[in-house]
Symmetry: C2
């Protein structure tokens, strides 16, 4: 009987490993994030590291709110900056950081939301180990984003 | 040998069916939608059918943009209504409808975005068979939503 064992064990093993691979693929947080396109790789110096930006809604004269999908690869971050009309962030995936000048760094997870007041210097980005995906909702009625200094590694790593 | 077949086939069958159930669970579109809480069941008469609303960001004097997560069960819909400062919709799951007065009904899917101009009568809701989840971004600086007539079944079903 023993010589026939492989015939029975082989399909069991195939299904087991196939189901494991499927499991890993679906549980990858990046799979769930793809509600909106990742867009184009940032080429400005307003960010450090790999950042992808997809504009979803442009501001116009009737509704001056812009909406974009921003993906930060691990370690990527914005410079310190100001939005003259403020900004709202909706975290759709991953783990990231948000810090306002003079306050502690906040750790953000999928499902978190942030309301950044007008004219408050702040930065945001991914955590060191995990990518971060956010929808950014930005009023343009008081002018464009004002970019400030880069976030130093000391600032980025401070807990 | 044949009397031992069950011993080999049973674990194979268990893994096979377990992997199928897992697959179904993850591929259910409602599983992916739960980035933001479903919130509370609507109790106003501004909607027909089962609608759930979660406020994510309230408007304030510095940033008058409100953000909410709205879930329409199949067949559920808003009344016709107007946003004095316009609205932006981001579809995060399911299949829904959006129609502006005098235009054809649009079918919306996960990943679609809509910019509804100020003061244009419109309605939105789920398709007849599939629930619909949207993030609604609404400027409050020109006053609250103005609710109009219910959407008739004829309007809802018209293709």
């Amino acid at each position: 009987m023993m010589k026939h064992n492989l015939i029975y064990i082989l399909p069991f093993a195939i299904v087991f490993f196939a189901s494991c691979n499927y499991h890993q693929k679906i549980e990858d947080p990046k799979q769930n994030a793809l509600i909106f396109a990742r867009g184009d790789k940032n080429t400005t110096d307003n960010f450090k590291g790999e950042v992808w930006v997809k504009s979803l809604i442009n501001a116009d004269s009737l509704n001056e709110t812009a909406v974009g999908n921003v993906t930060f690869e691990p370690g990527a971050r914005s410079k310190w900056h100001i939005h003259p009309a403020g900004q709202i962030l909706l975290v759709t995936d991953g783990v990231g950081y948000y810090q306002e000048k003079g306050k502690s760094k906040q750790i953000l997870h999928r499902g978190d939301v942030v309301k950044c007041p007008p004219d408050v210097p702040h930065w945001h980005g991914a955590s060191a180990d995990t990518a971060f995906v956010q929808i950014a909702i930005t009023g343009r009625e008081k002018g464009p984003t004002v970019w400030l200094k880069p976030v130093t590694d000391e600032e980025y790593n401070k807990t």
